[in-house]
């Protein structure tokens, strides 16, 4: 799969504003990745690897695990917040399905920043898009960023 390790520069609370965008993350899960995910997560529901079973369930074919899409959104946020960031919340809703061997494009935007109990919180809306650019998986994340002050 040939990844390169990104050495992202640390983002600080002062660097972000409402509307700041997270660096886009494009994922392209293959059927093999779904099998790896099934093994790693313990979710062996056959709609994610058995085409006949998926079609008998009224689906066009095997579909990507919702939790895997959620994990991609987790990667989007943790890549962005850097080593000194702390993830406080992550959640998403599965409105439409993703199919293997198609791009899943993960995006995010800052919606709020606030200081509470001496911690520097940033709320983000995050979502995944299918190749048509439709938001399949709206979600949100809250992170605590380091401050320069």
């Amino acid at each position: 799969m040939g990844w390169s390790i990104k050495v992202a520069k640390q983002v600080f609370y002062e660097d972000v504003e409402v509307g700041s965008e997270l660096a886009v993350l494009v994922k392209h899960p293959t059927t093999m990745q779904l099998v790896k995910w099934a093994g790693a997560s313990g979710d062996y529901y056959p709609i994610h690897y058995d085409k006949d079973f998926a079609q008998a369930n009224g689906l066009p074919g095997v579909i990507v695990h919702g939790w895997l899409t959620c994990s991609f959104l987790g990667q989007l946020v943790t890549d962005w917040m850097g080593e000194k960031g702390t993830l406080a919340k992550l959640g998403c809703i599965y409105r439409a399905m993703h199919f293997p061997c198609q791009n899943i494009t993960c995006k995010g935007k800052v919606t709020k920043k606030y200081v509470q109990d001496d911690k520097y919180y940033v709320d983000c809306e995050v979502w995944a898009e299918n190749p048509k650019g439709e938001r399949t998986t709206p979600g949100s994340a809250t992170v605590i960023l380091p401050s320069r002050s």
């Binding site: 790896k36 009224g58 895997l68 994990s71 943790t78 992550l90 959640g91 998403c92």
Partner: protein, 143 residues
């Protein structure tokens, strides 16, 4: 006169509401984290020491999950509707995590695929010191 349509929320399902399951206990090994991060395709070196964000899903509360699948209900197909995780402490290599949970909510709705049942599970993950590390809410659809 129309006959009232039968609810898909059976007594068996109602009786499961708020019943506590677990704990199921997991020792977090380095290899588990590696396998998990590899499956996500996330090369962040941090995941060699601490669990990536959605690792909680691998710490399954099988007894409760099994119940959700086997509980008597006329709807037999399943989809994941959504997940929420709140993080309190990192899960680290060699932690011993205890998972407990319950069925916290059941709702019936008419959707594009016909009648749908939404079942929301609440899960709590604690480490060996008894500290809550994660709280999770997972909603499963039967349709």
């Amino acid at each position: 006169m129309k006959l009232a349509e039968a609810s898909v929320i059976t007594d068996e399902l109602k009786n499961l509401l708020n019943v506590e399951f677990g704990p199921e206990v997991y020792e977090v090994e380095k290899g588990m984290l590696k396998k998990f991060a590899d499956a996500v395709g996330d090369p962040n070196p941090l995941w060699r020491k601490v669990a990536p964000p959605t690792f909680a899903t691998a710490l399954r509360l099988d007894e409760l999950t099994q119940k959700m699948w086997t509980v008597k209900c006329p709807l037999t197909r399943f989809l994941n509707a959504g997940n929420e995780l709140e993080y309190y402490q990192p899960i680290k290599v060699d932690d011993v995590i205890s998972v407990t949970g319950k069925l916290a909510d059941i709702r019936e709705r008419e959707g594009k695929m016909g009648k749908m049942l939404f079942m929301t599970l609440e899960l709590t993950y604690k480490n060996q010191k008894g500290e809550t590390v994660i709280k999770g809410r997972n909603t499963i659809i039967r349709y």
